[in-house]
Structures are given as C-alpha cells and as structure tokens.
Amino acid sequence: MSIIKTLDITKVYNPDTVPVHAVDGITLSIQEGEFTAIIGPSGCGKTTLLNLIGGLERPTTGSVEINGEIISSKSKRQLTNFRLHNIGFIFQAYNLIPVMSAYENTAFIMELLGWPREEIKARVMELLEAMDIADKAHQRPNQLSGGQQQRVAVARALSTRPKFILADEPTANLDSHATGSLLDMMLQMNEREKTTFIFSTHDNRVMRRARRLIKLEDGKVVDDAWK
C-alpha cells in the first residue's frame, strides 16, 4: 500500500531573482514498511525532497499526498499537527534538546500528544532498551557520545509509532561502528514495528543496507532501484 505519493513536484528557490530548481518534477510512490535511501551528490535536492514530503516546505508546483491526504494545501498549524501525528524526524546533527535528559527527549513528542505518564514511561524504556541506552536515560545530550545521541534521536522519532520516519543524513557525524549499530537498530524497528524509513544520504554504509535506492541529480530522479 502506497503511504507517500509525490506528483510532479517542483521546488524553486529565489524565483524572482536567480531561480534555483532544487526539486524539478519528481513523481514517486513509497510503500508502507519500506527502508529507502534517497541518494545523490550534494545539492541534488535530497534534503529538499525530504522537507517537501515531511511538510516542512511547500512545493512550488505539484502535490504531496500522505495516506491519501494532500498535505501541500494545509495551513502552517495543520501541517505542524500533521507532522506531530504522522511523521518522525531524525536530523544529521541529532538536535536533541540540551536541557532534557535522554528519557525526557524521548518522551517529548508523547508529552506533546498528551499520552498518560505511565504509558510514556513504558514506551520510553522500551525504546531506550531497544537502542541499548537504557542506562543513559537520565543523562543529558552533552554527557552522551554522538552515536548515543543519535540513538536517542531515533528513539524520539519512533516514540509515537509514526507512519514513517524521515532521516536527513542520520549517519553523517557517526563513526563506522556507531553507524553500523544505528542501522541495525533502525532495521530492527522497521521489521518489528513496520515503520517506513526514508533516508537522504551519501553514506555507502546506509546505501548498502537500504532496500530501495532513489538517485537524484539536479533535482530529478535519475534512478530508482529495488534490491
């Protein structure tokens, strides 16, 4: 079943001065449970495509459909609410909240959704254990290594069992050991919770583990291959 559909989407920056076509007529469909990597050289439009799918940016033309719902026409507030309920984000620079512990960072989205305290506690501990950082639950980001911080970010993204996870270069700042174990965990969650993962990356280690590779060049899909 198709969870994400983009229909001939374009994104043009600076349309009035020096137009930059970051995304140029992309049409694609992503199925539930996919573990997909969007690849390509720097500046090819990977992050912009993820932002368009995630409702962080609106396409200049075309439309983005998530679960049959066109999100590109939603208001700013509706989009924020949509992201909260449907999408998990993982960023390159982890982007945890520095004054919160690993536990609190993981619980953050659940608290925004108003989950009961006991349910939050159970889910956070389940995720931190799955990420193998349960013993770091009460440590703040500055007390964790890069790999551990990214695992907390993954736990936060997975916490509310979103329909899909968008991960922008999630391994860019990690060493190979941390990258390997993070990918293992994400694959495990993909299989166990049937969560759809979409990465932007130019990390070969991620490409090797992805089941589908969508290659972009100059804002266009130039290759779309299943393994």
Binding site: L56, R83, F89, F91, N95, I97, V99
Partner: protein
C-alpha cells in the same frame, strides 16, 4: 504544566552569568522602587494624616462663608443639641472646637501679627499631643486666662514663662478685642508656622476675648475610620441648618496639599518608570538572546510537531519566571527594611530639618507599608517581562524553520 515549568527553569539557567546579572538588575530595581515609592507614599500619608489630625479633621462644621473668609463674623453658633450629637457619636474619635482669630501680640516694644487659636486644652492634647511639645512652663487648663506660645514667637517677643502678653485684635461684629495674658508655657512644634505665629488659649478665654460667647469658628471631627467620611458628612448635613452652615470634607480643606501630592506623585511615577524602563531593556536583551541562541532548537521543536503558540508560551513562562524571581527576591529584601523604617521613621536633622519646618512639615521621613504599592512592583515587573518578550516572540512566529535547520539563517 509541571514539566513545562521544570523546562523553563532549566532553560533560564543555561547561561548562569547572564541570568544572575538580569536577576540582580531586577532585584535592585524592585528594592529601589519599593523604597522610593514607600517613602513617597509614606510622606503623603503622613502629610495628610498630620493635616487631618492636627488641623482640619476628616470633617469640619462651620458657617458657610467661613472657609473663604475666616473672620469672626463668619463664626457659627454652637448649640447644645449639636454638642450632644457629637458627644454621642461612636464613630467620632475626637471633635475639636476652635476659635480662630487674628491679633497683634505685643511685649514691650516687640509686636508681631499672630493667629490666636482658642481650644479645649484636653481635646487639643488628645488631638496633637500638645503636652509633649511643651518645653517650658506648664500646660494650660480650661479655665485659665493664660496662653501658650511657640518658641520662635517667644524668642522674637523676648518673653519667658510668667511674662504677660498683650493681644489686640478685632472680635465678633467689629468689637475691639484686647487683653493681657500671662504666658503659661512655651512649646516647640515640628511645624515652623506654629512656633512663629500661633498663640493658643483656652476656648472660654478666647470666646471672652473675641466676644464670641456660644460661638465657634469651626468644629473639626476626627473619625475612628476614614472610610466613614462620606457617611458622616451626610449625617451631619442633616443635623445642621444648611442654609447657613456646611460640613466640609477633608479633601476640600486640603486641596492645595492634594494638588501638590498629585504633582509630586506624577513625577515620582515618572522616575520609577525610567528605572523600570532601563530594567525592561535589560530583560528584553536577555529574552532576545535566550530566543535567538535557541533558534535552531525551536525550529527542531516545531519541525517535530510543537505548535508555535506552545513555544511562545514556553518563552513567556521563562521570561515571567526570571522576572517573578527577581521581583520576589527584591520584595523579600526590601520588605524588612521598609518595615523597620516604618517602625523607626528616619529623623531629619540639621539644616535639612529646618527646611522641612520652614515648609510646615515635620522633619521625619515616614515610609508606607501598604501592601498595594509592593504588589504593584510585582505586577509592573510581570508586565515588563511580557512586554520584553513581544519582539522575541514575534521572531519565533516568523521563523523559517527549514532555513534555520539548514543553517541558512
């Protein structure tokens, strides 16, 4: 809510030095403002209290024309019915009958124009603690034919206790009022005009001197509770013949003082406004920095689903928390100081004291402990914290979160 307060608390301590400096400025402002305002309001209260207590009363009964033309001919008839009503009124702490007249006071070759006030010695003592102001001689009695004068007048006329004073003036209906009175006592009043120009004598003696049998210039009423003024004003209006008499409210008898208080109060508020404006900019700087340095963090929060209004309320909470901490600490520090000085008013000495006396003010700095102005400091700081957040909040609402996350802003 608890978790949001915890988060706000942690956020404000991210940069400890900055928070300490901001807090210190708020605490300092609150202490200064509380003390300044306390002294200002305390001095107003004291001025009004002194004026009401020692001069006008909360209400005064008088002949209609007396207030504008204080002559004997505008005196009032004091009936036994009125006296009985005043005696039986439980809401009146004190009623003071007075005769007020002008005269020339002369001893040997020295003469000065004076105000002669005929008073009931016991009531006058209850009114202004007159006995405590006596520095020489004895306190006069109701049936005495003697006078009490201020130390400056005594010095000018070169009289001592036991010497006689000639008073020459105009009595009721143009009669010549003249008499010789021994000086029973010399007093030192904190207000200069009393020391220089006032001669006090028993009421009966004054009535005799000015041909004012059964007549008074006015009767001043000091009430137990100032809040009863309007009620009592209405009551006594019903007890007098309002075609020839009136009941005057203390506000109409102290209009000049109230106007000068109003104008002084206005400038006092401006001074405090300037103080708080400076603090407001300090707080604005802190909130702005707290917001701008967390732009990326805020953008991530919004990206993962936090609504902007929740973020805005979080920043307001942080701003209010800093301001409230500063205001509470400031009040906690200033209250004991204010309370101490309310119990032990600051006595002004030397030339400054003389300046106060010359302005007919007691040389004392009284401080108010009314909770209203202290709560006002808290509310002002609270409002400043909200106002100081407006621009930073506007910034949050206009964030382009993608540009910030990607480092383009």
């Amino acid at each position: 809510m608890k978790s949001r307060i915890i988060l706000a608390w942690r956020n404000i301590w991210r940069n400890r030095k900055r928070t300490y400096i901001t807090l210190a400025s708020i605490i300092f402002a609150v202490i200064i403002a509380t003390f300044m305002r306390g002294l200002q309001l305390g001095s107003y209260d004291k001025m009004l209290y002194d004026a009401i207590r020692s001069s006008t009363g909360h209400l005064a009964l008088m002949e209609k024309a007396f207030w504008d033309d204080k002559t004997m001919d505008n005196s009032m008839e004091f009936t036994s019915e009125l006296e009985q009503a005043l005696d039986q009124d439980p809401d009146i702490e004190l009623w003071v009958p007075e005769i007020l007249g002008g005269a020339l006071a002369s001893v040997g070759n020295n003469t000065r124009g004076v105000v002669v006030q005929g008073v009931d010695p016991q009531k006058k003592d209850a009114q202004i603690k007159f006995k405590e102001k006596l520095i020489e001689g004895r306190y006069f009695q109701p049936d005495d034919q003697s006078v009490m004068i201020g130390k400056d007048l005594a010095s000018f006329l070169k009289v001592e206790v036991g010497d006689t004073l000639v008073l020459l003036g105009q009595g009721y209906m143009g009669m010549t009022a003249a008499g010789i009175f021994p000086v029973a006592g010399i007093f030192d009043h904190p207000m200069a005009q009393f020391n220089r120009r006032f001669v006090f004598m028993p009421l009966a003696a004054a009535q005799y001197l000015f041909f004012m049998e059964d007549r008074l210039s006015s009767v001043n009423l000091v009430l137990n509770n100032a809040a009863d003024v309007e009620k009592k004003e209405t009551l006594y209006q019903s007890k007098i013949d309002t075609t020839i008499m009136e009941v005057r409210h203390w506000e109409s008898m102290n209009r000049d003082m109230l106007q000068s208080i109003e104008s002084d109060n206005f400038f006092g508020k401006i001074m405090i406004g300037i103080l708080y404006m400076v603090i407001g900019f300090g707080l604005f700087g802190t909130i702005l920095m707290m917001t701008m340095e967390r732009k990326r963090e805020f953008s991530i929060m919004m990206a993962i689903g936090m609504q902007d209004y929740k973020l805005v309320s979080q920043v307001i909470l942080e701003s209010v928390l800093i301001a409230a901490m500063g205001a509470v600490i400031g009040l906690m520090v200033s209250f004991p100081v204010v309370y101490f000085y309310s119990l032990n008013p600051i006595l002004i000495t030397g030339e400054s004291a003389q300046l106060y006396r010359d302005l007919n003010m007691e040389p004392v700095l009284a401080i108010s402990t009314k909770p209203g102005y202290m709560i006002a400091q808290f509310i002002i700081v609270f409002i400043i914290s909200i106002v100081a957040s407006i621009f930073p909040l506007y910034n949050i609402l206009t964030f382009n979160i993608v540009d910030i996350i990607r480092g383009r802003q």
